[in-house]
Amino acid sequence: MIPPDYEYLRKVLKDLSGLDLSADKQYLIESRLLPLARKTGLANIGELVQKMRGGSPSLINQVVEAMTTNETFFFRDKVPFDHFRETIMPEILRTRAGRKSIRIWCAAGSTGQEPYSIAMCLKEMGVALAGWRVDILATDLSQEVLEKSKSGIYSQFEVQRGLPIQLLVKYFKQMGELWQINADVRAMVQHRQLNLLHDFSHLGAFDVIFCRNVLIYFDQQTKINIFGRLAKAIEPDGFLVLGAAETVVGLTEAFKPFSDRRGLYRPSSTQNAPGRVWATGTAAPKLAAIAGM
C-alpha cells in the first residue's frame, strides 16, 4: 500500500467514524480491507482507494464498517457483568423502586452479544424485576452488525465463547447448527444506527451506559468530547461501564471511577460518590437477597 493511499484511508476513517489509526497500522488496513476489495472485484487496496476517491458512498460505508467492526462475545470480560449484577442492579432496584423502570444503553452494541448478555442478566433476576419496564437500546455505527444483532442468530462457535451452557439451554432455540436467542429476550433490545461522533442527545437519559471497547479507537480530543456528551446522557446517579483498556482518568472530571471496581464509573455529580458508598462498610445488598431467591 502506497503512503498516499494509507493517508487517504486514515483521513476518511477519522472523519467518518472517529477511528484514529496511528501511522503504523497498514497491516490492520490490509487484513480488514483486502477481503472487502476482493469481494468487490478489486485486486488490491490501491484499486479500492481509487474507487473511493472516484465517489462511491456505499463502498466508503463498507470500508468504515469493515474497519470498525470488532469481534465480541457473550459476557465478554465477565467482570462488567459481575458489576452489573452485584453493584449496579441492587442499587437501581432500590433507587428506582418508585418508578420501576430502567433504561440501559449499549453504545457499541455490535452484533448483539453485549445487549443480550445484559438482557439475560435481567431475565435471571426474575421476580425482582416483575412489573418493571426495561429498555435496552443497542446502537452501532454499522447497520450490518445491527441487522445481525436484530436477528439474534449465532453460530455454534459464537455461543460457546463466554455464554454459560445453562443460559444457552434456557434462552436459545437450536436451528440446525445455528442458535437463535428467544423472542422474549430479543424483544427487550431496541436497535438504532448511531455514530458516536454525532449528537445523541435525542436518545434521552439512561440509568446505565455500557460504552466498551470503542473509545479506545478515538483520539484524546474525541474521547473528551464523547465523555462530555455521555455525562449529559446519563442520570446523575447512573452508571457508566467502560472497557478494560479504557478510562476517564486524565480526560474528564465528569465521571469518577469506583476504586475497587475496574471499568465502573458514575457521574461526579452523584450524591452517592463511589468512594463514599462502598467505603463505609455497608456492602451493596446481593441481588439474590433482594429477589428473595
Binding site: F73, K78, Q160, G162, I165, A244
Partner: protein, 129 residues
C-alpha cells in the same frame, strides 16, 4: 498443579486436548473409554474431566452418573466435549451433573472460556482489545 482427566476414544482428540490443557498448566491423565476413566477416578479424583459422550465400552453419560455417585465424586468439574450437539443431549448432561458442555469442533479459546466458566482457571483481564 491441577489434574484433568481427558476421556475420549479418539487418540487424536486426546492429543489435541492434552496440548491445549497442558498449555493451561494442567497435568493430564488420559482414558479411552468410560470404564477406564472410572478406574482412573478410583485411583484418584481429578480436578477436571473433559468428557466425550460416545465411547465403545462405557459412554460419557453413564460414566458421569457413576462418578457423581462415588465418594467425593461431586467435586470434579465435568465438561462434556462431544459431537452430540443437540439441545436435548445438553439438557440431559446438565441434569446428570455436567458443569459445562463443549460442542465439537472446538478450539483452545472455547476450552479456556468453559474452564474459566466453571472456575478451573482465571483468564487475565484484557489490557487491550
Amino acid at each position: 498443579m491441577k489434574t484433568c482427566l481427558v476421556v475420549d476414544d479418539s487418540s487424536v482428540v486426546r492429543k489435541i486436548a492434552r496440548r491445549i490443557l497442558e498449555a493451561m498448566d494442567f497435568e493430564i491423565i488420559e482414558a479411552e473409554d468410560g470404564e477406564k476413566a472410572l478406574e482412573a477416578c478410583k485411583r484418584g479424583l481429578p480436578d477436571a474431566v473433559l468428557l466425550d459422550w460416545n465411547m465403545p465400552i462405557m459412554d460419557g453419560y453413564e460414566f458421569l452418573g457413576n462418578l457423581r455417585r462415588m465418594p467425593g465424586g461431586e467435586r470434579p468439574k465435568v465438561v462434556f466435549c462431544t459431537t452430540e450437539n443437540g439441545i436435548d443431549h445438553i439438557a440431559r448432561a446438565l441434569e446428570a451433573g455436567a458443569n459445562e458442555y463443549i460442542m465439537k469442533p472446538f478450539d483452545k479459546d472455547i476450552v479456556a472460556a468453559k474452564f474459566q466458566e466453571v472456575g478451573l482457571i482465571q483468564l487475565p483481564s484484557p489490557a487491550s482489545i
